[in-house]
Symmetry: D2
Subunit: 135 residues, 4 copies
Amino acid sequence: MNKVQITIRVRYVETDRMGIAHHTHYFSWMEQARTELMRQNGLSYRDLEERGYMLPVREAHCRYRHALSYDDEVKIQAELLEIGGASLKIGYRLYGKDTGMPAAEGYTVHPFTDKNGKIVKVPRFFSALFQDGKK
Amino acid sequence: MNKVQITIRVRYVETDRMGIAHHTHYFSWMEQARTELMRQNGLSYRDLEERGYMLPVREAHCRYRHALSYDDEVKIQAELLEIGGASLKIGYRLYGKDTGMPAAEGYTVHPFTDKNGKIVKVPRFFSALFQDGKK
Amino acid sequence: MNKVQITIRVRYVETDRMGIAHHTHYFSWMEQARTELMRQNGLSYRDLEERGYMLPVREAHCRYRHALSYDDEVKIQAELLEIGGASLKIGYRLYGKDTGMPAAEGYTVHPFTDKNGKIVKVPRFFSALFQDGKK
Amino acid sequence: MNKVQITIRVRYVETDRMGIAHHTHYFSWMEQARTELMRQNGLSYRDLEERGYMLPVREAHCRYRHALSYDDEVKIQAELLEIGGASLKIGYRLYGKDTGMPAAEGYTVHPFTDKNGKIVKVPRFFSALFQDGKK
């Protein structure tokens, strides 16, 4: 499964004085969605770290469309876009659960590193999780 | 003055269990730097909002280079890259104060809106702040 | 219903370099729980604000017991402890979903204010939500 | 020196849709102030962790008085209140830099632990930092 969808609710602490969700929090929601993408493919990110791997963020991008308000329910879709020799690219789409309105889209790029932050090849057990037909 | 530089210190709350500054906070630091860019040109962002304008974020991008650790001092340079009919583009460079190592770079794009979020033209008093030779 | 329970999962962004959930986030989780306490009594906090009332925080306290780690599921119980002339007191208990271990407990106190921040009496429709036997 | 004072500025990301600084951030500001309290006594908290000690939070309390707004400058005073056999208590006072108005006060309690989170006695080199006359 290369795609997953979660629903979150905009928390009060995530709003700002414009009355809308502050743009920084979208990146945390994307992180939550990619955590679930991995979990639903059978490997929690916590397990991955326990095996000695890390996925820091090399690049993050977000394009904001319609503002989100306090208490709005937001759907966030995360999709594995690329899995290269030493990195992953994940894409995201956010939209209002009730309105269906696109709220934002973005992507993140992650190198695979060992515990010391040294870049390593994507381990085979990891890429195997995302083969077609799996789950 | 189209460029400004601030120094911040990575706070404990901004680290994560990898032991480094979490990637989402870079966007808050960029926001701090663009706030100072405006202030040093004679208009605080608070004043701008009091005049009935807002600068929401339409796009945000960051490319991470060298990780930052707890208590590191970080220099953040913000520079006005473009000022178009209805939007601004601001670029950022982050680097370690002691090491001089590039930590990250990024940009944000902001439409000008009125109080109701409707996009408006960049007001003349605003673009005048950034003319050459000013200040 | 004077008591409600929610489950959250510790997000990566909420951990710190000690490897555990940073203490500040417990207050956001409490806020999430009290939001649900109100919703389950038939009035969302958003609706309350739309009626012209606000519930700022006058006092917040937390006693931390067992640390929480990344990806832990946490149960948070919120309970209305007191509803006085012009304020509310809400108590919270947090514990690990899997372990059942107490993680923390705390309380918050909230005056009722109008839109301008002026303290007002607890409106009758609000206290009526929490009468015995309701729901 | 048992007391120190820092000045911070309320960041946009720290405001909420009430238009004021969200109550959770006061605890991060207190953390910044106690970091400086230690640094000014000659030991950064980072050094302390490198020596194998940690100061997790056992208790945190805040009493909010006057709300703080975006871009307000805030003075935060941190003071060592007690240094017991195995823990510290630190008190905080926050007030508006321009207005002098008290904004909040609070305290935190911290056990001393080793790297594994086991509680240990306050090390002698630490309590020596806070003796009278010592700067």
